[in-house]
Amino acid sequence: MTFLPKPKLHHPKLAENGLGFTRRDYEGSISTLCAGCGHDSISAAIIHACFELDLPPHRIAKLSGIGCSSKTPTYFLGNSHGFNSVHGRMPSVLTGANLANRDLIYLGVSGDGDSASIGFGQFAHSIRRGVNMTYIVENNGVYGLTKGQFSATADKGAKSKKGVANNDEAIDLVAVALQLGATYVGRSFSGDKAQLIPLIKGALAHKGAAFIDCLSPCVTFNNHEGSTKSFDYVREHNAAVNFLDVIEGREEITADYPAGSVEIVRQHDGSLLKLRKLANDYDATDRIAAMNFLQQHHARGEIVTGLLYVDGESGDMHDLLGTAQHPLNGMNDDMLCPGSAALEKLNASLR
C-alpha cells in the first residue's frame, strides 16, 4: 500500500496519443493493494492498452464486483464511468448498461471469487448472451481480502501458504467461456505485459463477448512454493501458443512471413489481429480444437496462454435482439412513442 499519490511530474518525452493524451492521463488514483500485487500490473496493462488505442476516456465504462480485483477500477481510467456492483453481479449490471447504451466501451473487471463462485451464473449468462464487452478476470486462486482461502480456480493439489493442499477440482474459466460461446478468449499473466497489453487491445476492439483470464499472483497469500499461481510457477509452466499484434486501421500487412507462421484475423471494426504462432499446430479460429488443446495441455500441467480463440465475424447481444442502432437511453418521446394513429392501426389489426 502506498500513501503518497504518484508525483505529477513525468518523463519529459512522454508520448501523446492521437487524442493528445499521455499515458498518465489514463491513470486513476493510487493503488491501495499490497505492494507487488499482480492486479496492479493488469491495471497498468489496461492503461497502456486504452492509451495505445486512442480511446476517449469518457466513452469507457468500467464495472466490477467485490474483491481485490474489483477494487482496481479505481486505480485506472480516472476519467471514465465506473460502477462497483454487489459481489458477483458485475456481469448483470454490465449487461443492463450495455442494453441501455450500446455506444459505450464496456470493461468488466472481476476476480476468481467474484466470477467463479458467487457470480458464476452471472458470468456464464453474460458470455452466452454475447454482451459486447471486455471481461477480465484477475485470477490469483485465493480470497486475498479474507486472508487467503482457496478460491474455485485454485488447482487441485495446490498448497496454501500454511501447506494445506486443495482437494477440490478447479474451475477453468477459459474452458467455460469457450463452451458458452465467447467469441474472443485469451489467457495471460500479469508478469508478462508484452503478451497482456495486445491481448487487452484486441479484446477492446472485439465485437461481442471477449473474455481474458489473467493469472495474477497474490504476493501476500499465494506466491509460495507449492502454489500453482505464483510468479515462479506460472513462468515455469507458461505455454504461450501465439504472440499477438493488434494493428489498427485498415492498412494491409505486406511483410512476408514463412508460411503457417502467422495467422491474420480481421475484426468487425477493421482492426487486424496478427498472430505470430509459437505453437505450430495451433489454430486460434477453431473453437473445438482450442478446447481440445487446452485440455491436453492442462493434463500435462501446462498453462496455455495467448489468444486462444477468436471469431472475426462475431456479433453481439444487440444483433441477436435486433435492437435499434440508436442507444435506448438516448431516445426521446418522439422516437419512443409511435403516436395515436399507429396505436389505432395496431388495435385495428387485433380486432
Binding site: 500500500m1 502506498t2 500513501f3 503518497l4 504518484k6 508525483p7 505529477k8 511530474l9 513525468h10 518523463h11 519529459p12 518525452k13 512522454l14 498518465r24 499490497c34 505492494a35 507487488g36 500485487c37 499482480g38 496492479d40 500490473s41 491495471s43 497498468a44 500479469s190 508478469g191 505485459k193 499472483p217 504476493v219 501476500t220 506466491n223 510468479f231 515462479d232 513462468r235
Partner: protein, 598 residues
C-alpha cells in the same frame, strides 16, 4: 551491458548532479534537507566544511550546480540551490561553537600564503587546525581579495565578508595586510616550509584603439575602477557611461555606474547577446536596472575634442560560422557611434607575476602562466604551490575554494614527507532510509511548485545607494518551499537482484518510466528500447543482472525523481532508498565538528 558497480563512489556521486558539478563537491541535497528541517546551523556547517564561504557564495556563486540540477530536466527550472545556501547563512545562530576550536598544537611547520582571497584563506582554514603556522600576506587593508574589491556591495555587503573571513582568521591565522609581496625569493628566504601563491588575476586587459590615451582621464579599467569604488576612492561617474565587455565584471561595472550618477549606462559587447560570458541572471539584473546590452559592436575609436572624451565609435559585425562551427565576426561596413562621458573597460583579466623571480625554479608557459600540476597544484619548485586565479587564470570563487582544499592536502603531505600524488579518497556512506512500510527518513512527497523568485528591493531605493543590498534573500517560508523542490537525488535507489521476483510493481508505479526489465544488450542498443527513451548519454544506466528469468534490470538515472515509490511498491525489499553521503577528503584533523546529521 556490464552490470553497474555501485561500490565505486563515483557512480552514485554522479547521480547527485549538483554535488558532482560543484567544484568543491558540496553535499547539496544534504544541506537543503537541513534547511527544510529548520536546522540552519547544521546546514551552514555542511556548507562551511565544503565551500568555506556559504554566506558569500549564497549571493555570488557562479552556481555550476544549477544547470546540472535534475529538477531542471523534469520541471521548468532547477532548484535555487545558490540562494538556499544564503537562507542557511541568514538564519543560522552562533556557529562559532561548531568550528574547530584553537589554539591548535603546533606541528612546527610554517606556511606562507600570498593573497587573502578565497584560495589563500581556504588553504589557511584547512592547515591551521592541523597545527600549521600560517601567515597570509595581502596588499589590501582587509582580507577577502577579489571578493571584497570586485564584487559590488549592493550584491555582497561588507558585513558578510567580515564575518566569513573572520571565521578563518579567528582560527589563528597570522594576517599581514597592507603588505605587498614584491619578491617571492625574499619570502622563501624567510624559511617557510611551503608557499602558496593565491595572488589572483589582478590585471585588467587594456583597450587598444585610437584615442584611448588622449582620453585617459575618462577611460577606466573595470577591475581597478570596481576596486576603487569598493574602497570608497571613487564615488561618482559621468551621466553617460559605456561599459565594454560581456562578462560578469562588465555587469558589476554597469550596475555600479548606475548607482554613482550614471543615468544612461549601456553595455556594448563584441559577441552576440547569447554568447556573452556573464551569467544569465546577472544579465537579467542589469537589464532590470534599465541598462541596455547592445551586441555585435567592436570598439573602433575613442572620439575626443579638446582633450575631453565625447563618445566612441564601433564597427558593426555579424557572426559567421565555418563548417567546424568556429565563429568569426565579419564587419558589415556599418559604423555606429555613441556619446559618452566615461568608459569602463571590462574585456578580460590577466595574470601578472612581476614579483616572481626567474631563477627560483618556477617554470612558466608561453602565456606567462606558471606550470602547475592540475591535481596537486604544485609548481616546478616543489615548495611552491599555486591555486585560484593565479594558477589557471580567471575563474570564480567556488573553483578557488576547490583548489584550496586540494592544495592544502598537497602542502600537508609535502610537509609531512608523504607522496603528494597519493590522494586521499573521499569518505562515503550509504545508509537505508527506511523507517516503516511507507515511511522514509526523508520527505519523498515530490513538490510540484515552480521555482520561487528571490525578492528584490525596489529599484527606487536600491539605485540610490551603492551599499544597499538589492536581493533580500528568501525568508524562512519561501526558503522551506524552495527547499522542498529538491528531489533528494542523494537518496539512491539501490537494487538487490536476489530479492527481486520480477512482479513489475516498480515499473508500473514509476512516474517517469525509468525502470525496465528486459533482455541484456549493448548500451547504445539497450538505451533505445527502454520504457522511456534514454537518450541523455551523460546520465548512466544502472544495470543489474542476477535475476531469475535471466533478464536484466535497467534503470535510467536521467530523470528519476527519487520519490521512492519503487521501493514502497516492492513486495520483497529488492529496492531500497539509501542515503549516499560523500565527503571529500580534507587535511586532518577535520576542521569542523559537524554534528551527526539525520
Amino acid at each position: 551491458m556490464k552490470p553497474t558497480d555501485i561500490r565505486d563512489p563515483d557512480y552514485f556521486h554522479k547521480v547527485v548532479d549538483c554535488q558532482w558539478a560543484c567544484p568543491a563537491h558540496t553535499p547539496v541535497p544534504e544541506y537543503i534537507r537541513l534547511i527544510a528541517a529548520g536546522r540552519y546551523d547544521d546546514a551552514y556547517m555542511v556548507n562551511w566544511k565544503s565551500n568555506i564561504f556559504p554566506g558569500i557564495l549564497g549571493r555570488t556563486c557562479d552556481r555550476p550546480c544549477e544547470p546540472a540540477c535534475r529538477r531542471g530536466r523534469v520541471d521548468e527550472e532547477p532548484v535555487a540551490i545558490c540562494r538556499l545556501k544564503r537562507v542557511a547563512a541568514d538564519n543560522k545562530g552562533d556557529v562559532h561553537r561548531l568550528m574547530p576550536q584553537g589554539p591548535f598544537a603546533s606541528n612546527g611547520k610554517r606556511v606562507a600564503i600570498v593573497g587573502a582571497g578565497p584560495a589563500g584563506l581556504g588553504v589557511a582554514r584547512d592547515l591551521v587546525p592541523a597545527g600549521y603556522q600560517v601567515t597570509v600576506f595581502d596588499s589590501a587593508p582587509k582580507g577577502g581579495g577579489f571578493i571584497r574589491s570586485q564584487i559590488p556591495k549592493f550584491r555582497l555587503p561588507d558585513s558578510v565578508i567580515d564575518e566569513e573571513v573572520g571565521y578563518i582568521t579567528d582560527l589563528g591565522v597570522e594576517t599581514r595586510y597592507n603588505s605587498y609581496i614584491s619578491s617571492l625569493k625574499g619570502l622563501m628566504d624567510d624559511g617557510y616550509d611551503a608557499v602558496f601563491v593565491a595572488s589572483g588575476a589582478p590585471r585588467g586587459r587594456e583597450l587598444d584603439v585610437p584615442g584611448r590615451q588622449d582620453s585617459a582621464a575618462n577611460i577606466h579599467i573595470g577591475i581597478d575602477w570596481l576596486s576603487s569604488v569598493s574602497f570608497g576612492h571613487i564615488t561618482s561617474i559621468g551621466k553617460r557611461v559605456i561599459v565594454l565587455g560581456g562578462g560578469n565584471t562588465a555587469m558589476d561595472c554597469c550596475r555600479s555606474a548606475r548607482r554613482l550618477g550614471g543615468t544612461e549606462v549601456k553595455v556594448i559587447v563584441r559577441s552576440g547577446f547569447e554568447e556573452m560570458k556573464a551569467s544569465p541572471w546577472e544579465k537579467e539584473d542589469a537589464i532590470h536596472e534599465d541598462i541596455p546590452i547592445i551586441n555585435f559592436l567592436v570598439p573602433k575609436e575613442v572620439i575626443h575634442k579638446h582633450g575631453k572624451i565625447v563618445g566612441m565609435s564601433f564597427d558593426k559585425v555579424e557572426a559567421t560560422y565555418d563548417e567546424k562551427g568556429r565563429r568569426s565576426l565579419i564587419p558589415t561596413g556599418a559604423i555606429v557611434q555613441y556619446a559618452c562621458d566615461d568608459v569602463l573597460v571590462a574585456i578580460g583579466q590577466e595574470n601578472a607575476f612581476p614579483w616572481i623571480e626567474q631563477d627560483i625554479g618556477i617554470a612558466f608557459d608561453r602565456w606567462g602562466m606558471p606550470k602547475v600540476d592540475p591535481v596537486t597544484f604544485q609548481s616546478t619548485n616543489p615548495k611552491v604551490f599555486f591555486g585560484g586565479d593565479a594558477a589557471f587564470g580567471p575563474k570564480n570563487i567556488i573553483w578557488a575554494v576547490s583548489n584550496a582544499h586540494q592544495a592544502a592536502i598537497s602542502i600537508d603531505r609535502f610537509c609531512q614527507g608523504q607522496d603528494i600524488n597519493d590522494r586521499p579518497p573521499p569518505g562515503v556512506t550509504l545508509a537505508s532510509q527506511k523507517m516503516g512500510i511507507h515511511e522514509w527518513s526523508y520527505d519523498n512527497d515530490v513538490s510540484i511548485d515552480l521555482r520561487f523568485k528571490v525578492p528584490h528591493r525596489d529599484k527606487e531605493v536600491s539605485l540610490v545607494d551603492i551599499k544597499t543590498e538589492v536581493e533580500l534573500g528568501f525568508d524562512q517560508v519561501l526558503g522551506f518551499k524552495e527547499a522542498q523542490r529538491c528531489l533528494n537525488c542523494d537518496v539512491q535507489t539501490v537494487f538487490a537482484p536476489k530479492l527481486c521476483i520480477e512482479c513489475d510493481a516498480c515499473v508500473d508505479i514509476c512516474p517517469v518510466d525509468c525502470i525496465t526489465f528486459t533482455e541484456d544488450g549493448e548500451e547504445a542498443e539497450l538505451r533505445g528500447r527502454l520504457n522511456a527513451p534514454a537518450d541523455n548519454i551523460s546520465q548512466d544506466i544502472y544495470v543489474s543482472d542476477g535475476l531469475k528469468t535471466g533478464r536484466i534490470m535497467a534503470k535510467d538515472e536521467d530523470v528519476c525523481l527519487h520519490c521512492g515509490l519503487c521501493a514502497e511498491r516492492c513486495p520483497t525489499g529488492a529496492w531500497d532508498m539509501q542515503r549516499f553521503l560523500l565527503d571529500m577528503a580534507q587535511v586532518n584533523p577535520v576542521p569542523a565538528k559537524v554534528e551527526a546529521l539525520a
